[in-house]
């Protein structure tokens, strides 16, 4: 009898917990939609500029979120492009080539890096910038490239660890298939192991994209500013959505500016959703053709 009561209690507890989570998500989204939707229009994005002219780069946008959207997209693409080759390589090394104590030690380092607060990574980026500014060229200042590099550092451990886990999950039987047929280690890696691990690696990249899009602490120390327009080069200041949200919500002078903060939050959510969907579709496409390396059709 007592057992049954405990069982029920456990079920009730689990249900409540799930419900609380659901309500929290709904509350956040509802609140954002309620505050942000009324201001969500082309004017929020392009200000007083003509949208088509702005998209074509013929007219600058001064009082809209367009530069911040472009800045965030550039930042994500750049940071992930920088981080993926290194993260993948590190993950492959950890899973396939390192052994014993060396593997444990390297894994520990990656876990420490993964646990480093992003503000510390931002501070590191800033320190590097100051160092380069003093020693290399006075032209170097906080900029898009430095931010992207710092963000790449931030997401590297996720990429390395998810790649490692995806490779280590592969069953021994599958792992030995190609070598038993005369494949070299490299052939086995590229033709069997990596294709098998692609879905896992894809999840890691998805995580990395989300992290790059939402992180604020790193970019506010390394080059994001409130008003910069579109970046003219990789070594230029830039605007980014998370920083815009932070800026509007902490420095607003009137209710309209605060409203724009909510609008920016909605746009950031939509941008993240778009990136996730894109990465997801890509992952599905890769998964479908897995086991067959590119250009490898009998």
């Amino acid at each position: 009898m007592k057992e049954k009561g405990l069982d029920r209690l456990l079920v009730f507890y689990a249900w409540t917990a799930a419900l609380v989570l659901l309500l929290a998500v709904l509350a956040v989204f509802g609140f954002l939609l309620q505050r942000g939707l009324p201001v969500l229009n082309l004017k929020l994005i392009f200000g007083n500029a003509d949208p088509l002219a702005a998209l074509g780069g013929r007219q600058p946008v001064f009082d809209g979120l367009y530069p911040a959207i472009v800045g965030t997209l550039m930042l994500v693409v750049l940071a992930v492009t920088l981080a993926v080759p290194v993260g993948l390589g590190a993950g492959i090394y950890l899973a396939e080539y390192s052994r014993g104590r060396q593997r444990a030690l390297l894994g520990l380092f990656f876990d420490i890096l993964a646990g480093t607060p992003s503000i510390i990574v931002g501070l590191f980026g800033l320190t590097i910038t100051i160092f380069l500014h003093r020693c290399l060229s006075a032209q170097i200042q906080p900029c898009l490239l430095i931010s992207a590099l710092s963000l790449a550092f931030l997401v590297l451990p996720y990429l390395a660890r998810t790649t490692q886990a995806a490779l280590e999950e592969i069953e021994p039987a599958v792992r030995l298939t190609a070598p038993a047929l005369g494949a070299s280690r490299r052939q086995n890696l590229f033709l069997v192991l990596l294709p098998q691990a692609l879905p896992g690696i894809g999840s890691g990249i998805l995580l990395a994209i989300g992290r790059c899009a939402e992180d604020t602490a790193v970019i506010m120390l390394t080059g994001a500013v409130a008003a910069a327009g579109l970046p003219r080069s990789l070594l230029d200041h830039y605007e980014a959505l998370p920083f815009s949200i932070y800026y509007y919500s902490s420095q607003y002078a009137n209710p309209e500016e605060l409203q724009r903060g909510y609008g920016a939050a909605l746009i950031l959510l939509a941008t993240c959703a778009l990136l996730f969907i894109l990465a997801f579709v890509l992952r599905q496409l890769l998964t479908r053709s897995r086991g067959i390396a590119a250009g490898w059709r009998p």
Binding site: A173, A178, P179, A180, L181, A183, S184, W296, P298
Partner: protein, 239 residues
Amino acid sequence: MTREKQTAPPAKIRLVDLGFAYGSQVVFQEVTAAFPDRAITAITGPSGQGKSTLLTTINRLWETVPGARLEGRVLLNRAGRWQNVYAPDIDPARLRRRVGMVFQAPNPLPMSIRKNLAFPLKIAGCRDRRRLEEKTEQALRQAFLWEEVRDRLDEDARRFSGGQQQRLCIARALVLEPEVLLLDEPTSSLDTAAAGVIEELLASLKKNCALVMVSHHPEQVRRLADRIFLLEKGRLRLV
């Protein structure tokens, strides 16, 4: 048991003072034996005695296992000349193209039958489409599979029955025309009927290469094997 007695029929493989250990745990030692060419050699014995490991010493597949150690020599007869497979100038990947292996559970790669068959040829550098097609058909015929799959070559290999998958794996190992085929309990995951087909197939392969098979089934061993070894308590002896 003397070495002379064993090498009486033309031998393909000779194990000389072979010892194997994982870390400090000895799996087998002082294994000396000869396996004949164009015949089926069976290795039998209680489980967990290292029969599979003994097989992988011939194609060097054990080398991917961390902490494993081997001593002694494995000699392969190539046109009358004995060659140590552990000689420094032997590339393990190339060796495994000459010494094929089939595992306990069928392990088709997640792709079509056609691509599974082409896989070993492609990694060996064959790009000629006509040759690929010829070899594929030849190997599938050898493995008693051609008639069943000739119209389904582009279907995912994992959709076929266990017995068909195992014959596919045998065909895939045969496509490189190996001199030796290692079989690690090739029928233990199959039902009696499917196992019967495989047994018939193995008997027919004797004319092409040397087969070394690990098996648990005494009847299967009696039916198929030309020479039987027992691996027990770390020693291999002729039965």
